[in-house]
Every structure is written in structure tokens, then in C-alpha cells.
């Protein structure tokens, strides 16, 4: 099982305060994790990535094991610690604005 930590506003939206714990089909990648997140919580469709293009929203970033992986390919395998559920996949609202 993979752990996914949502930003506070999206945690409020799904009504959960802890991390999502999800079964992810196949290799753990950004795409497979986000597919699982949206399948389990359809309200999140469009909030993390564009509904049509599936591109990451501009002010959302992804972190894995302390590394910003936002610009990595969608299908690049994530670290084994993420796949094993030992480390959470972090979805972060970027610090933006003034």
C-alpha cells in the first residue's frame, strides 16, 4: 500500500486529515499514483492535474523521499521506499503569491 499526503485544502475536500493509503496497480509512478488517488476520490479530479491533458497544475508539486520529482516523467518509477509504503508521496501546494 502506498501513502499519499495531500495538501490541507485537498484533505478538507475529501474530509480526511491523515494520508491516503492506496493500492496502486503496477509500478509506482506519478501517473499510477495519481490515477489511484482520483479513482478512490473522484472529487480530486482536476484539482491536482488537468482533467483533459493530465498535466500537473502549475502550483502543485510532487515530492518523494525528500526530492522534488515534479518535473520527472509521469511514468518514471518512484523510489522503492514510496512503492513499499515506507515513505509517503507528497502532493504540495507550491508557495506562491505574495
Amino acid at each position: 500500500m502506498i501513502q499519499v499526503v495531500l495538501p490541507a485544502h485537498l484533505r478538507n475536500l475529501v474530509g480526511m486529515q491523515g494520508p491516503l493509503v492506496l493500492e496502486v496497480a503496477g509500478i509506482a509512478t506519478q501517473r499510477s499514483i495519481l490515477d489511484a488517488v482520483e479513482a478512490s476520490h473522484p472529487v480530486l479530479r482536476g484539482t491536482i492535474r488537468d482533467r483533459v491533458t493530465l498535466r500537473r497544475r502549475a502550483f502543485v508539486r510532487f515530492f518523494a523521499c525528500g526530492q522534488d520529482v515534479s518535473l520527472d516523467p509521469d511514468d518514471a518509477p518512484l523510489p522503492e521506499a514510496i512503492a513499499a509504503g515506507k515513505e509517503p508521496f507528497l502532493i504540495i501546494g507550491a508557495i506562491a503569491g505574495g
Partner: protein, 380 residues
């Protein structure tokens, strides 16, 4: 008099406030003297608009958006006590096409947010959404799914539309209560459009508008219309606050004439009609398009009881010095009690109410986030 007082006491007035950081619901009885403030709902999100169904006042719709997380639509079935997200897939019909960008180049249509939600007059499951980049969507299932009424963008002038400073938004939707199928919408900065067949086909209705800041001041489209309003008893009469100029049409938009008259500035955003007097209208003059605050630092609502041209300043209870707030286009509304209540919200976070048609004003809440929209429900 005793009867009127009885009706007032039995009534509830609910003011739905959208702000830059959440929604608020203000509630009073018909006396409109004491107000309860509930919220924030959706704290931290921009709430461009909240509106209730005329057919079921407990059915509310809210547009919730964020630069980080995009667009959501929220629905309440209990008058705003609880909410649940519904559908947020706003996909343009067919090939999205292009409109003009600020520099005149072709720019692809891109969905950004929902500015305005307009529940249908008779069916609470039907609701229209005006969006940026400008388009009109409709839901027939309480907001669960949305489809574009793409005849608006495809009638021919769409590729010539251009955004205003605030984006290319469809911000006003008026449903004609007398002529079935007639819908008026307004877009910044394209103008006013009318459909007579429920939104399938459209045409621009901007004859008589004059905008000196565009290449052809009397062009068919390209006018920065800020808001239009009608009285339900007389839907062929429309009132408009344009970027500059207050306008009026007596023929369902076929032609417009200026009624700015003696206003201190004819720039502004909202315009509203008294609930019982179709010739009584309200605007809030703003100094200029680059100085978005009231002239002389005095917050004044102007009322015309003659459908325009002759205006009187309404100041009692409003700040008359050092006031530099703005009042945005969807931030004024009226209730349907007698006397008519008038409400507006400011970018400074105040919501002002007048229980007597504008003669006297009170801030019913004064420290909200910047107000984006105000709607009123009168519940008897």
C-alpha cells in the same frame, strides 16, 4: 401596516456572500436589523459566486476556485448548512477554437474558472454557469455534469472576442421569466448576446453602445459590459453598467441608449433594479478604470427612480471620507420584501444593507475578506 410587519417577521432574508477566501451566509428576519454570520465555508478558496434556486431556496450552488487547485462546484440542499462537491468537468464543445489575445493574436480558448452560476427559474436541478474563457455551460442534473451551449461561441463573432483586464469572462446570465427560451448573457470584453431558443443559437445585441477605447467605437462586439440587469415583470427593459456609461434598452437589447445623466462618474461595476419599482435602479460610481475607488473617497450608491438620467446620491450610513474600496459587478442584490432591501459588498470586506430601498445603510458585517459577490434570498 400590521400585515406588512407580520410578513416581515415571518420572513427570512439570507445573504450569500462570496469572497476571495471563502463563502459566508448572513441571515436575518424580515426586519433586517440583526444578522447572524455563518462561515467561512471553503476557507482559503475564492468563491466567485453563490446563488440559490428560485424554485427551491434550500438548493444553493457555489463556485469554488483556487489558483492552486482549480475549479470546484459545491451544492447545498439545506440552505447552506452543509455542502457537497458536484461536477467540475467544464469541457468546451467540439474544437475549442481561438479568440483574440490582448495583443490581437489568436489565442486558444482555455477554461479558467466559473464566474457566475444561475439556477433555472422553475427547476432546481437545472443551472447555468458563465465561465472564463467566455462560454456558457448548463447542467440538468444539479451540477453533476455540464455541457457547453456552444452556439454562443460559434455564432460567428467568437474569434473576435478579447479579454478585459479581469479576463475574458461570461459574468451575467439573465433568464427571461416571460419569454420561454430567451436568455441574455454578458461578456467582458465582448458585449451582450441574446438567445431566443434556450441557448442553442445566439446573436450580439450591442447596437447603441459606444466604447471610445476600442478601434471601432460602435463595433458589433468588443464592448466591455460590466453587468446587465432586468426587472422580472418587464424583461424587455434592460439596464447596463458598461466599463464607462450606464445604458438602457427598451427592446430586449435591440438598441441601447445612454442614461448616465448626472452621475459623478459613469464608470462602475454593478447595476441592480428595485424589486417592486422597475424604473428604480442602483449603481455605485467608481472614479475611473485605473482608480478603482469611489470619487472623492465617498462611498455613494446612486439611485434613479426614472430609469436613468436623473440620479440621487444615497449616503446615509455609508462612509463619506477616506473610503477607497471597490464594489465588484456581482456584489449588489435586492430582496423582495416591502420596502425593498438593497445589499452590496466591498473589496474592503464590508457588506452594507439598506432595509428601505437605499435611504439608510448599515454595515451588517464589516471585516470579511474582499467581497466578490452578493446574492439575496427572501424566504417566506
Amino acid at each position: 401596516m400590521a400585515t406588512i410587519l407580520h410578513i416581515e417577521e415571518m420572513s427570512t432574508v439570507r445573504v450569500l456572500v462570496g469572497t476571495k477566501k471563502g463563502a459566508f451566509v448572513l441571515t436575518s428576519d424580515g426586519k433586517r436589523k440583526s444578522w447572524a454570520v455563518d462561515g467561512p465555508f471553503f476557507g482559503g478558496w475564492e468563491i466567485y459566486h453563490v446563488k440559490g434556486s428560485p424554485a427551491d431556496p434550500n438548493r444553493l450552488y457555489a463556485s469554488q476556485s483556487s489558483g492552486w487547485f482549480g475549479q470546484l462546484i459545491q451544492r447545498s440542499n439545506d440552505g447552506g448548512k452543509t455542502w457537497a462537491p458536484v461536477g467540475n468537468a467544464f469541457t468546451y464543445g467540439g474544437v475549442a477554437g481561438t479568440h483574440q489575445w490582448y495583443d490581437g493574436t489568436a489565442h486558444p480558448w482555455e477554461f479558467k474558472r466559473v464566474w457566475h452560476l444561475e439556477p433555472a427559474l422553475a427547476n432546481p436541478e437545472v443551472v447555468y454557469a458563465g465561465v472564463e474563457d467566455a462560454a456558457l455551460f448548463r447542467s440538468d442534473d444539479g451540477g453533476a455534469t455540464w455541457h457547453e451551449l456552444s452556439g454562443l461561441r460559434r455564432h460567428g463573432s467568437g474569434p473576435r472576442w478579447q479579454p478585459g483586464a479581469g479576463g475574458m469572462c461570461l459574468h451575467t446570465i439573465l433568464l427571461d421569466p416571460v419569454n420561454p427560451g430567451r436568455i441574455f448573457i454578458a461578456i467582458s470584453a465582448a458585449g451582450v448576446f441574446r438567445s431566443d431558443d434556450g441557448g442553442e443559437t445566439w446573436r450580439p445585441i450591442n447596437r447603441g453602445l459606444r466604447s471610445e477605447h476600442i478601434p471601432d467605437p460602435t463595433a458589433e462586439v468588443g464592448h466591455c459590459v460590466h453587468r446587465i440587469a432586468m426587472h422580472a415583470s418587464r424583461p424587455n427593459v434592460l439596464f447596463m453598467q458598461k466599463h464607462w456609461d450606464v445604458m438602457r434598452s427598451d427592446d430586449a437589447g435591440e438598441s441601447w441608449r445612454e442614461v448616465s445623466g448626472n452621475l459623478p462618474s459613469d464608470f462602475g461595476f454593478p447595476i441592480e433594479v428595485h424589486s417592486h419599482e422597475p424604473e428604480t435602479i442602483y449603481v455605485v460610481p467608481i472614479k475611473s478604470d485605473s482608480e478603482h475607488y469611489p470619487p472623492e473617497g465617498k462611498l455613494r450608491v446612486y439611485r434613479s427612480t426614472s430609469g436613468g438620467n436623473e440620479w440621487e446620491a444615497l449616503t446615509r450610513g455609508l462612509p463619506q471620507q477616506d473610503c477607497y474600496v471597490n464594489v465588484l459587478r456581482d456584489s449588489m442584490a435586492v430582496d423582495s420584501l416591502d420596502p425593498c432591501g438593497v445589499y452590496f459588498g466591498t473589496t474592503g470586506g464590508q457588506v452594507y444593507a439598506s432595509p428601505d430601498g437605499g435611504d439608510n445603510w448599515t454595515a451588517i458585517v464589516r471585516d470579511l475578506p474582499s467581497v466578490l459577490s452578493v446574492e439575496v434570498q427572501t424566504i417566506r
